[in-house]
Amino acid sequence: MTQPQDEMLPISVTVDGRLETGQVSSRTLLVHWLRDDLDKRGPKIGCDTGNCGACTIRWDGLLVKSCMVLAAQADDTRVETAASLAHDDGSLNDLQACFKEHHGLQCGYCTSGMLMTATDLLESGEEITEHSVRRGLKGNICRCTGYENIVRAVRAAAGHDVEKPHGAAEEVAS
């Protein structure tokens, strides 16, 4: 068997609405291209083995883990990272605001992946319950929160009336 050679391949990918072009090695993972070449830091590298979901993106509209895809495979496709979620003026969308209000993060490393998966779940039309949210987020691991506030934040974004986190204060105009 001959020693395989690295190949450089041209790709063009629409990332968060902007067309990006580049040359990638045939063995570059999509997450590495997004972060290292494009400086898109939404997808995080957590486990590198497809377990933690920190690198979750939407790829041609489908939720995937970008550490399990080659950059070369993304040629002529569309990628959305967590950076696509906020409004154009930079203000938080409803789901992001719920994560903030319900304290759905601590260290924040899993958050962009959680937001992508939660967005996919909320847009899927599936019934939103405590159970369906926990099951829906199964591919995303958080080692800080114990998930309680993340689940509440997603349910709140779906319009559920959920308990505020411990210590939350109501602001009332005087």
Binding site: M1, Q3, P4, Q5, R27, K65, L70, G136, G139
Partner: protein, 289 residues
Amino acid sequence: MILPPLRYLRPGSVGDAVHWLTHIDGAIVLAGGQTLVNALKLDLVAPTALVDIHRLDELRSIAVSPDRTLTIGAATTYAALAASTDVRLTAPSVASMAAGLVDRQVRNRGTIGGNVCLNDPTNNFPPLLVALGARFTVLGPEGTRTIDADDFFVGTMTTALGNGELLVSIEIPPLPRGARLVHRHLQVGADSWAMARAVVRIDDDNGVVVASRVVVGAVLGSPQRLRLVERALVGLPTGGDLDGAAAEAFDRESIETVGDVHCSADYRRQMSKVQLRRALRDLAKGTPS
């Protein structure tokens, strides 16, 4: 982690894919990549080239023929199987299994063809497809051939696919009238790794078991048909003590299990029997497949 050096090839047709698989020494198929990409990171495999078949539309169709045979393209994702009305109506066990696999992200990429061609002993589709009597259509340098499920799965991580051959589609014949099928799994968590799997199918004619298929997964050489259990069930009244007959026959089967971080080999063997018995009780209760 950095992948080893390799070529990336995207064929425009299944014919091109077979051509590359045949003529490039060390080329392998990249389907959903949900196992393969990790295996590459860990240096568990060392291909010279990946032939990416995921975008080939001809491998992604789902069709039902007038006799209700379901034909699934090999690169159909778990999410597409779970969402397909055709699959849910003609092979509900396939749809429900696909819906309960791993997580949302993996279901969007992982394919039924990748699942069966890897034939990892813990994979869930191989035992189910054996119980359903599926047939596998394969394209190779010599043309097309069709392989029965019993012959397709050769042993642990091994199938009957030869050099240059590509799995094109999986055909699932309709269950005969009166047949019922139940699959049962002992998993580490919901939608997770299995410690034991059992699939039981009973073909009933006038209240008597006329044929049966009993398959276990998560054992060495999975999927394994338990022929002694199958024989013990045939001829019994469908409403009779199938559970007792199966349990007695199970103890005479030669089943090899291994221990891992989740459980010992002996526990796995015991739990295979428990899953089998529970599946038979589900059948007795008339739980739909």
